[in-house]
C-alpha cells in the first residue's frame, strides 16, 4: 500500500529525513516510534504530501505521490490533483484539528459532500453510522469545544473514515489526551485495525504497538534505525540507540 524509497526532506536546508525506505503492505499496521525530532511526524506528512519531499520516491496504492515522473524528471502536480489522491488517505492529528465552527456531524459530512459530491442525506446517514461505531452517536449535535479530548479524537477518526480511505495515518493520536482518555481512542483504533484497515501510526503507546502493530519501526535523527516484529524489537532491540530510547520510555 505504501512504498517509500530514499525519502529525503529538508526544512530550510536542515535535513530532517535522510533517506528513508519503508514498506507498508495492504491490511497491515505499521507503528513508528522514536524520540521527538526524529522525523517520524514529518515522514507521516510526506505520505499524503502535506509536506513536499526533496528527494526519493513515495508511492501510495502504486501511485507516485505529489509528482509525475517524465523522462527521469519529477514534475510537481497541481494542488487539485494532489487533493484527489489525499481523498484515499485519511489522517488523524495529535491536536484533533476538528473544525470548531461545525458540529460533530457537520465535521464528518463536510468532505463527503464538498469533495465527493455525495447527497446530504446519504452523507448524514453514513456519518451517523460512523459516530455509532466510535460510540458518539448521542453527541452528533455537539460542537468540538463541548467534547472531551478523547471524544474529539474519536470524531476526528470518524471524519477521516467518512472519505472511505484505503490508508489511515495517525500522528501521535493520544499524545494530547489526559491519561484516562487514551484508552477510548486506542480502542477505536484497535477495532479499525481488526477490520483490516492499513494503518501507519506514529505513537508513544508501546503497549498498543506490541498488541496491534504488525511491524514496528524505530526512527532516530531522520533515519530508520531498526524495524521488525513489535514483540521482537521491544523485547530484544538489536541497535544501541533503540535500547537507549526504550530504556528511557519504559
Amino acid at each position: 500500500m505504501v512504498r517509500i524509497r530514499g525519502l529525503v526532506k529538508r526544512f530550510a536546508g536542515r535535513e530532517v529525513l535522510s533517506g528513508i525506505d519503508l514498506d507498508v503492505p495492504a491490511g497491515s499496521v505499521m507503528c513508528i516510534i522514536g524520540p521527538s525530532g526524529s522525523g517520524k511526524s514529518t515522514l507521516l506528512s510526506c505520505i499524503n504530501h502535506l509536506e513536499r519531499i526533496d528527494g526519493g520516491r513515495l508511492w501510495v496504492g502504486g501511485e507516485l505521490v505529489g509528482y509525475r515522473e517524465y523522462k527521469g524528471r519529477l514534475y510537481e502536480l497541481p494542488e487539485r490533483q494532489i487533493a484527489g489522491m489525499r481523498q484515499k488517505v485519511g489522517m488523524v492529528f495529535q491536536h484533533f484539528n476538528l473544525f470548531p465552527h461545525m458540529t460533530a456531524l457537520q465535521n464528518i459530512i463536510e468532505a463527503p459532500i464538498r469533495v465527493k459530491g455525495e447527497p446530504a442525506a446519504t452523507a448524514k446517514r453514513r456519518a451517523m453510522a460512523l459516530l455509532e461505531r466510535v460510540g458518539l452517536a448521542a453527541k452528533h449535535a455537539s460542537f468540538p469545544a463541548q467534547l472531551s479530548g478523547g471524544e474529539q479524537q474519536r470524531v476526528a477518526i470518524a471524519r477521516a473514515l467518512a472519505m472511505e480511505p484505503q490508508l489511515m495515518l495517525f500522528d501521535e493520536p493520544t499524545s494530547a489526551l489526559d491519561p484516562e482518555l487514551v484508552g477510548e481512542v486506542l480502542a477505536v483504533m484497535k477495532d479499525l485495525a481488526r477490520s483490516g484497515m492499513t494503518m501507519v501510526v506514529v505513537t508513544h503507546e508501546l503497549a498498543f504497538a506490541r498488541e496491534v502493530g504488525d511491524e514496528l519501526t524505530f526512527m532516530d535523527a531522520g533515519l530508520v534505525v531498526e524495524r521488525g516484529r513489535p514483540r521482537d524489537v521491544l523485547a530484544a532491540p538489536q541497535e544501541a540507540r533503540t535500547r537507549d530510547f526504550l530504556s528511557r520510555v519504559l
Binding site: 499524503n48 489525499r86 481523498q87 488517505v89 492529528f93 484539528n97 476538528l98 469533495v115 477521516a160
Partner: protein, 281 residues
C-alpha cells in the same frame, strides 16, 4: 486544632461589605455636572431647538441622509470586496502579488482621505478621456473623463478605495488567526484550496474580522461627511447648504449630528447581534 466556621452563638454572622464613600461622592459630582450641562443645553435659546425640530424631517435633509447611507453602503461594500482580494494577495506565496498588495495598502492608508477625494474629483485633469480598448485592438468605449467622474463616482472611488486598504489589513489578520492545523486537516480530507478557504478558513476568520469591521462601518458613516468638499449633497453638505441661506448654523449642525447619532446607534446594535452570532462555540 479544629477549624470552626460561623459563630458559636448559633446566630448567623452579619457580614459588612467594605464601603466606598469616595466612589459615591465622585459619582454624585459627575451626575451634577451632567445635569447642569443638560439643563443649559435645553434652556439656552441660542441652540434654537424649535429650528432643529423644523428641519429634522425636512425633505432636503432626508435626501441628504439617504445619500449618506448610500455612500456608506456602497463604499463599504467596495472596501470589503476589494479588501478581501488584497488580503488574499497579501498572504499569497507569490512575492509579486504580496508586494503589490503591500504597496496598495501603504499608499491608500498614507494619503488622507480628504486629499484622495479631491484628487479623484479632479482626475479629469490627468486623463481627459477614458478609453477602453482591446490591447492593440479596436476601441470598446470612449468617453470624456468629466462625464465619468461625477461627484458621486469621485466620492465612491475616494471612500471605497481607501476603505479597501484598511479592510484588507483587518481581513488579513482574521485569516492569519485561523490555526494552521485547520488547513492541514482540510487538505488531508482532499479538499481543494478554494473550498478550504470558503468553508473552513473564512468562517473562522469572521469571528476575528467582525468587531473591527463594525468599527470601520461606523467610522465610514462619519467619513462620508468629507464629501461635502466635492459638493456632493450628503447629510452634512445639505445642512451646510441650508444654513448658508438661513444663517441657522448651530441648529442645522445639530440636525445633522442627531441623524449621525441615530445611524451609528442602529449600526452598533447590528454589530452586537452579528458578534453574538459568530461567537466561538
Amino acid at each position: 486544632m479544629i477549624l470552626k466556621l460561623g459563630s458559636d452563638s448559633g446566630v448567623p454572622d452579619v457580614v459588612v461589605p467594605l464601603r466606598h464613600p469616595w466612589t459615591w461622592a465622585a459619582s454624585g459630582m459627575a451626575v451634577l455636572i451632567a445635569a447642569a450641562v443638560a439643563v443649559s443645553v435645553a434652556t439656552n435659546p441660542a441652540f434654537q431647538w424649535p429650528v432643529v425640530a423644523k428641519y429634522l424631517f425636512d425633505a432636503q435633509i432626508l435626501g441628504g441622509l439617504l445619500r449618506t447611507l448610500e455612500l456608506t453602503v456602497v463604499a463599504m461594500a467596495m472596501g470589503l470586496v476589494l479588501g478581501t482580494v488584497l488580503a488574499i494577495m497579501r498572504l499569497s506565496a507569490n512575492p509579486l502579488l504580496s508586494t503589490l498588495s503591500w504597496l496598495y495598502i501603504w499608499f491608500f492608508r498614507s494619503v488622507p482621505v480628504l486629499v484622495q477625494l479631491i484628487f479623484w474629483y479632479n482626475f479629469g485633469a490627468l486623463y481627459p478621456t477614458l478609453v477602453l480598448r482591446v490591447p492593440f485592438g479596436p476601441e470598446l468605449y470612449h468617453a470624456s473623463m468629466n462625464a465619468v467622474i461625477t461627484p458621486l463616482t469621485a466620492a465612491l472611488a475616494g471612500l471605497g478605495l481607501a476603505q479597501a486598504a484598511y479592510t484588507a489589513e483587518v481581513i488579513r489578520a482574521g485569516i492569519a488567526s485561523v490555526a494552521h492545523g485547520q488547513t492541514r486537516a482540510a487538505k488531508a480530507l482532499g479538499m481543494r484550496p478554494a473550498t478550504i478557504f470558503v468553508r473552513i478558513v473564512f468562517p473562522q476568520a469572521m469571528r476575528v474580522i467582525i468587531p473591527p469591521v463594525g468599527n470601520e462601518v461606523i467610522s465610514m458613516v462619519k467619513s462620508t461627511s468629507l464629501v461635502s468638499v466635492i459638493a456632493l449633497s450628503d447629510l452634512l453638505y445639505t445642512a451646510q447648504l441650508i444654513y448658508a441661506r438661513t444663517y441657522e448654523t448651530i441648529p442645522l449642525l445639530i440636525v445633522a449630528s442627531l441623524w449621525y447619532l441615530a445611524i451609528v446607534s442602529v449600526l452598533s446594535a447590528g454589530q452586537h447581534v452579528l458578534e453574538r452570532r459568530y461567537r466561538q462555540r
